[in-house]
C-alpha cells in the first residue's frame, strides 16, 4: 500500500517535472535544484539581516521604533516619520521578510520532492533526519524574527508560547521563564530574542554541514538561470510590497497620501506591543504562524500532540518500508590497488580508504560501510581494476549477458 503510494507520488512528480524540462531543459530545471534553493535564499537573509541588525535596538521601548526607523516611509507632516528612515530600508526589510517566506516554501518543496521521489529512505536517513531538524530551525528562526518587531502580534506570540511551554510537564514553568529571561518581560527578553534569532541562524549553517556529511558533491548552487529568477522574485516582491510598520491609525490619518494608500493591503506589522494588552485577532503568516493558529483553534494540548506527532512521523519515515538489502558493494581484496577512484565517486560517502598492513604491495584498500551503501554500482563503474562488485550483479555476469545479446542480434 505504502510502497504503491510512494510509486504514485514519484510518477506524478516526474510527470510534472517533464513539463518543466520541456520549457527549461534538464540542465536548468529549477525543480532539480530543490535543495540548493533554500540555501541560496539563505544568503539573502544573512546579508539583509546584517543590515537590519546594524540599526536594531533590542529594548522594550525602542525595538518597534528602531524597526520603524529602518523602514519608515517618509510621511509628510508627521513629526516622527517625515523624511525619516534609511534609504531603501523598507526594501531591505522586505528582502528579509520575503526571503524568509521563500526559504520556508522552498524548504518544504525540497522536503516534499525528496519524499515524493523516494529519496528519503534507508541509507539516506542522516540527510533526512538533519533535514527535519533544519525545518524546525527554519521555523524557529522565522518565528523569533517576528518577535523582534515587538508589535502587538509579537506580544501575542510570546504569551501563546508561554502558555505552550507552561503545559510541558515538570519543566514547564522553568521553560517559560527561560523564554523571556525571568519572571516577566523586560529589556533582557528582547536581547534574548535577538540571540535566539541570530544564534538559530548560525545553527542552521551547522545543520546544513551535517546535512551534507553523507552526500558527495551536494548540488548546493542552483543554475544561473534559476538564481536570476529567484533574485527577480525577491526583488520584485520586496520592491512592490516592502515591509513597513504602518499602524491602523497612521493608515487612517494619511489615507490620502498615495504612498501610504499603496501599502494598505500589506500592513506588515502592527502597532507597538502593549504589555498586558492582548490583541484578539492576529494576522497569520501561513508559513510561520500555523502553530499559533493551532493554539488559538484547538488548544495547547492538541497543538503539542499535533506538532510532536508530525515530528515523530517525519523522523521515522526513512526507516519504512524496509528494503531487502542484499546487493551491497564488496571489495575483492587481492585486486584492489588502493587507487581511491571508487571512494571519490561513491555518491553517499560509503567507501573509505584504509591503510594496509606495512609491507603490502599496495598502501591502501577500499572498505565499504554497508549501512551507507545504496547498491547503485557507481563504484563498479569507477574501478579500473574490477576490484569492487555488486554481489547480485557481478560485472562478469553483465559482460556475459552482453555477449549473449550481441550473438543473438548478429
Amino acid at each position: 500500500m505504502y510502497r504503491k503510494f510512494l510509486r504514485l507520488t514519484k510518477s506524478l512528480t516526474v510527470s510534472f517535472e517533464k513539463v518543466v524540462n520541456f520549457l527549461t531543459t534538464q540542465e536548468h530545471n529549477p525543480l532539480y535544484f530543490h535543495g540548493a534553493l533554500p540555501l541560496y535564499i539563505f544568503w539573502f537573509l544573512i546579508f539583509s539581516g546584517i543590515l537590519l541588525w546594524m540599526y536594531y535596538i533590542p529594548t522594550l521601548d525602542r525595538a518597534w521604533s528602531s524597526v520603524n526607523y529602518i523602514s519608515a516611509l517618509p510621511v509628510p507632516g508627521d513629526p516622527v516619520n517625515e523624511a525619516a528612515g534609511i534609504p531603501y530600508g523598507a526594501v531591505v526589510r522586505g528582502i528579509h521578510r520575503w526571503g524568509a517566506a521563500g526559504m520556508m516554501i522552498t524548504t518544504i518543496l525540497h522536503m516534499l520532492r525528496v519524499y515524493f521521489t523516494d529519496r528519503h529512505r534507508s541509507w539516506r536517513w542522516l540527510p533526512w533526519v538533519t533535514g527535519v531538524a533544519l525545518l524546525a530551525f527554519v521555523l524557529f528562526v522565522g518565528l523569533t524574527g517576528y518577535l523582534l518587531v515587538w508589535d502587538a502580534r509579537a506580544y501575542y506570540i510570546v504569551v501563546a508560547t508561554q502558555r505552550l511551554l507552561e503545559a510541558v510537564p515538570v519543566a514547564g514553568a522553568a521553560l517559560s521563564r527561560f523564554l523571556v529571561g525571568g519572571d516577566g518581560i523586560t529589556d533582557y527578553t528582547l536581547t534574548r530574542f535577538l540571540f535566539f534569532h541570530v544564534g538559530g541562524a548560525v545553527l542552521i549553517f551547522l545543520l546544513v554541514w551535517m546535512h551534507f556529511i553523507r552526500l558527495k558533491q551536494p548540488v548546493a548552487t542552483p543554475s544561473r538561470a534559476t538564481n536570476f529568477m529567484v533574485l527577480g522574485f525577491i526583488l520584485v516582491a520586496a520592491g512592490t510590497l516592502p515591509a513597513i510598520n504602518i499602524t491602523r491609525e497612521l493608515l487612517q490619518k494619511y489615507a490620502a497620501d498615495p504612498r501610504i494608500a499603496a501599502q494598505a493591503l500589506y500592513v506588515a506589522s502592527d502597532a507597538p506591543a502593549q504589555i498586558g494588552t492582548l490583541v484578539d485577532t492576529i494576522r497569520y503568516d501561513a508559513w510561520y504562524m500555523f502553530p499559533y493558529w493551532l493554539v488559538q483553534n484547538v488548544g495547547v494540548t492538541w497543538t503539542w500532540l499535533i506538532l510532536g506527532g508530525a515530528t515523530l512521523l517525519l523522523c521515522v519515515a526513512p526507516f519504512y518500508p524496509k528494503d531487502r538489502r542484499a546487493n551491497i558493494a564488496e571489495v575483492i581484496e587481492a585486486k584492489c590497488t588502493g587507487c581511491t577512484f571508487c571512494s571519490q565517486d561513491c555518491p553517499f560517502e560509503a567507501i573509505t580508504m584504509v591503510d594496509r598492513a606495512p609491507g603490502s604491495k599496495f598502501k591502501q584498500i577500499a572498505v565499504v560501510q554497508a549501512a551507507r551503501c545504496s547498491e547503485c554500482g557507481i563504484c563498479v563503474g569507477a574501478c579500473p581494476f574490477q576490484a569492487i562488485e555488486l554481489p547480485e550483479l557481478h560485472s562478469k555476469t553483465l559482460e556475459a549477458d552482453l555477449l549473449d545479446l550481441v550473438k543473438k542480434g548478429a
Binding site: V14, Y32, F348, G377, V380, G381, L390, K407, K408, G409
Partner: protein, 134 residues
C-alpha cells in the same frame, strides 16, 4: 537509410525508462527489435569497457541511457558516466573507440517517446556515415 539489420546494445538504468512496458519477452525493445538492452541499477555502473566489448564483439553501436541530468536517483551516476564517455573522468573510453557509435541518452521514466525518437536519430546517423575504417 539502409535496411540492413543492426545490432545495438544499450545499457539502460532501470529507473530511467519504464522498461517493464518496453521489452519483448527477452531483452529486445518492442519498438525497435534491433536494440537489445542490458539493465543496470544506475547508468553510473556502466564501465566504458562494457561499451568497447560490445563494439569489439560485433555490435554496430552501443549506448548508455540514464536518468535526466539533475535527477539521478543515486544523485551523481549519470554525471559520472557522461564525464567518462566525454573523456573527462577515469576510467575513459579507449582513444581508438569510434565515438560515433557510442550514444548517451538521459531521460525520465515519462520520456519513452522522446527516447525512442532520439534512438532513431542515433541509428539514422550511423547509416548516414561513410563506411568506417576499422
Amino acid at each position: 537509410m539502409s535496411d540492413a539489420k543492426k545490432t545495438i546494445i544499450g545499457f539502460v538504468c532501470e529507473r530511467s525508462l519504464p522498461l517493464e512496458y518496453m521489452l519483448d519477452g527477452g531483452k529486445a525493445l518492442l519498438d525497435d527489435p534491433d536494440t537489445k538492452v542490458v539493465i543496470v541499477p544506475c547508468s553510473g555502473m556502466v564501465k566504458p569497457t562494457f561499451l568497447e566489448t560490445a563494439l569489439a564483439k560485433g555490435a554496430d553501436a552501443t549506448f548508455v541511457c540514464g536518468c535526466a541530468i539533475g535527477d539521478c536517483h543515486y544523485r551523481t551516476g549519470n554525471l559520472m558516466i557522461r564525464e567518462r564517455l566525454e573523456g573527462k573522468r577515469s576510467p575513459k573510453l579507449r582513444k581508438t573507440t569510434d565515438r560515433r557509435k557510442v550514444g548517451m541518452f538521459f531521460v525520465t521514466m515519462k520520456d519513452r517517446t522522446a527516447f525512442l525518437a532520439a534512438l532513431a536519430e542515433f541509428k539514422a546517423g550511423l547509416d548516414a556515415r561513410p563506411a568506417q575504417e576499422e
